[in-house]
């Protein structure tokens, strides 16, 4: 069995990644189902409601793929997410909270997932992995589009000024605590990439480039101020370790 330089078996690292993905996919399924109902509640176009409903079903299918890879690696115990809480600050009115949820889930998280999946697709070692990654990437494109479509529809109906100052907190939640920390050796093994898991230092570069090239320009195109978000990213990068050669 192959090991990472820290001695942790590569198989264990990979199984752990698929277990985390399983939890995130089960959570996303619930979240999209709730978003579909909330979109209906504010009179959103049927096309957006349908996208959210379809995304909920997609995520259940994705979770099944994650479970299959997890089991193939010898994983035993998986736990699904069965309840979700809103990301949005509770002090916001409903329309603003819904907007926050869609921006966070679709414009940020699903856009980042799409970029990561495309990166993984290029490097995947086996045909089976490539087939699954292709299916997932195709779906994630639609999940991301839901957020951008919502902003395009909502921009003439509400003021997005509230969003700009909230973006740093949203991005911090999306990045997680390890994104700008030194990469842990067992999570940064180059072999991970061919097996469908992005090494940690590469994950950071994909995340940052996607913010700078897709997410921030997307917000600006749709009238969401990015000054605070860009300042947050600059501060994070100034303190982050230099990427390895």
């Amino acid at each position: 069995m192959s090991s990472t330089s820290a001695g942790r078996p590569l198989q264990e690292v990979l199984a752990g990644a698929w277990a985390v993905r399983y939890r995130i996919e089960t959570e996303a399924s619930l979240r999209f189902g709730a978003l579909a109902r909330r979109l209906e509640g504010v009179g959103a176009p049927r096309a957006l409601v349908d996208l959210a409903d379809r995304a909920s079903k997609d995520e259940t299918r994705h979770a099944a793929h994650c479970e299959r890879f997890f089991r193939a690696l010898g994983g035993m115990h998986l736990s699904a997410i069965t309840r979700v809480v809103e990301y949005a600050p509770r002090v916001l009115p409903e329309r603003e909270r819904l907007t926050y949820e869609l921006v966070s889930q679709c414009c940020v998280a699903e856009t980042q997932s799409t970029a990561t999946l495309v990166t993984l697709l290029d490097a995947a070692e086996t045909a089976e992995l490539r087939t699954v990654l292709h299916e997932l990437a195709r779906d994630e494109v639609q999940h991301s589009r839901l957020g951008w479509a919502y902003l395009a529809w909502a921009r003439s109906r509400m003021d997005f000024t509230f969003l700009g100052p909230l973006l740093p907190g949203m991005l911090a939640g999306s990045a997680g605590p390890e994104m700008f920390e030194p990469a842990a050796e067992d999570l940064d093994h180059p072999e991970l990439l061919r097996q469908g898991v992005i090494p940690q230092s590469m994950r950071r570069s994909v995340y940052v480039e996607t913010l700078q090239t897709v997410v921030f320009p997307g917000f600006e195109t749709l009238g969401v101020d990015t000054a605070d978000a860009k300042r947050w990213l600059d501060e994070k990068l100034a303190r982050a370790p230099a990427p390895s050669a």
Partner: protein, 64 residues
């Protein structure tokens, strides 16, 4: 990876979809209290969403 292509596919593709649906074709008419946030309860398929807790992360983690 060509991120500029991704921008076109996601942002411009999504925006076009949203813009195309700007008039009419809504799923339902907005309820009378839509957007007010007063007394609204967000229901999830599992039966309900508890209030946001202090310290909750403000954004979703990309699964990938």
């Amino acid at each position: 990876m060509n991120l500029k292509r991704l921008f076109h596919a996601l942002v411009l593709g999504g925006s076009a979809l949203g813009a195309a649906n700007c008039g009419g074709g809504t799923a339902t008419e907005p309820p009378a209290n839509a957007g007010t946030g007063t007394g609204s309860t967000t229901l999830l398929p599992d039966g309900g969403v508890p209030p946001s807790m202090p310290g909750m992360p403000g954004g979703g983690a990309p699964g990938w």
